[in-house]
C-alpha cells in the first residue's frame, strides 16, 4: 500500500486541510506525510510532541477519569480561532496515529471520520 497516496487523498478530501501525517506515538517519529507545502522539521516535531501529549501524556491522563479511565484517549483536537489539529489513535495498533492540520472552519466530524477510515486502511494493510 502506498501510505503517502492514502494521506494525499485524505488531505485533498478535507476542506481546509493542509497536512496529514502518519506517526508512531511511542518513538514520536513521523512515518509519512502529505502536505500542501513542505513542512519544516520543527513543525513536525511540534506536532509529534502535541500528539503524544494529547493522546498519551498529561492531557490524556487528565481527561481519562471523565470516561472511567479504562481505555486510552482515541481522539484529540487542539483548536484555536485559526486552525484545528486533530490527532487520532489507531484502535488496531495503539502506538500509531494520524495527525491532521485543518483550517479554522474545517468540518471536524468529517475530518475525524476521514481520518478514522484512512488510519484503518493503513494499519490493516501494514
Amino acid at each position: 500500500m502506498d501510505i503517502t497516496a492514502e494521506l494525499d487523498e485524505m488531505r485533498k478530501a478535507i476542506r481546509g486541510c493542509s497536512l496529514v501525517a502518519f506517526t508512531d506515538l511511542t518513538s514520536k517519529l513521523v512515518l509519512s506525510t502529505s502536505a500542501a507545502a513542505a513542512p519544516m522539521q520543527e513543525e513536525m516535531n511540534a506536532l509529534s510532541e502535541a500528539a503524544g501529549l494529547a493522546l498519551d501524556g498529561a492531557f490524556a491522563e487528565g481527561a481519562a477519569p471523565v470516561w472511567g479511565g479504562e481505555e486510552p484517549a482515541e481522539l484529540a483536537i487542539l483548536m484555536t480561532g485559526e486552525d484545528a489539529r486533530l490527532f487520532l489513535r489507531s484502535q488496531a495498533n495503539p502506538a500509531e496515529a494520524l495527525v491532521c492540520v485543518c483550517g479554522a472552519t474545517t468540518d471536524l466530524s468529517e475530518a475525524a471520520e476521514a481520518a478514522r477510515a484512512t488510519l484503518d486502511r493503513i494499519v490493516s494493510a501494514g
Binding site: G62, A63, P65, A73
Partner: protein
Amino acid sequence: MSEFARLEATLAKLRQKERAPGEGRALRGSDPDALLAALVTEIDETILPRRLSFALPDGDVHLAVANRRLQALLGPAPKRVPSELVDHALPDVEDPMVTMLGETLKSMMAEAGEVPVRSMRSKKGFASDIGVPAMQLARAWSIAEPVERSPSETLQTFLDGINEPTAGWLRIEGEEVTAQGGAEGAATALGEQAAIFLDGYFGKFDVAFREPALSCGTLIAAASSDKHAIFFIEIGELSAFVTAPGNKILAIATDWQKLVAS
C-alpha cells in the same frame, strides 16, 4: 465548603504561576487606533483584579484593571509617560488624566506592531469605586467600535447553545466557577474532573499551543462513543469545562469553532 473548592484551589495555585512566554495574548491592530481599541477590549474582558502589562516599543506599560474598569497606570513606567499619570488612581471618566492617558498610550502605540500582553494578579489594591468602565473609556478615547463580541458574550452564547441533555459544563472566571449547567447533581463530579484535567493542562499548555491565540479549545475522547469526553475552552481570562458523550462532543466543539473561527 464550596462544591468546587478543590477545583478553585487548583485554579488559584495554577494561575499564580506566570505562564511562560507562550501564554501568548497580544494586542493586534493595523494602526494605533486599532491597538488602543484592542487594549480597551482587554480591559473589558478583565474581571478579577489584574496587573495587565503591555510590551510597547518604549517599554512595558502596566495597568491596574478590575471589574472591567481601568483603575490606574502603575509604575514603573517608560520615560515617555508623564509622571503625574503614574500610580494616579482614576476615580471616573471625568478625571482629566483619562484623556491624557489615552493620548499617551496612543502615541506610544504609533511604532508598535503586535503588543504582547501579560496578566498577573494585582498586588496593589484600589477601592472598589475607583476605575473607569471600558465602555466609557472607549467613548472618552473616541474609539468607534471597540468590541465586536466580548469573550464573555462569546462564551455565554456557546454555553447557552449546549442543549445536549447528557452534557455538563462549568463556566470559570479567573479562579471561580461562576455558573454550571447540565444534569442535576453532576456539578461536584465535574469540579473534581476539571481539577484533575487542569493540573496537567496548565503544566503542558505551551507544548500544545505554541503560537499566541485569542482562544484555545481542547477536546479529548476515548474510542467508546457512549462514554463521556471532555472539551475545555479558554477565551481571554474566561474558560469552560464541558463533558458530553463522545458521539456528541464533536458537535459541541463544532459550535464553538463557528463562534471563534477567524
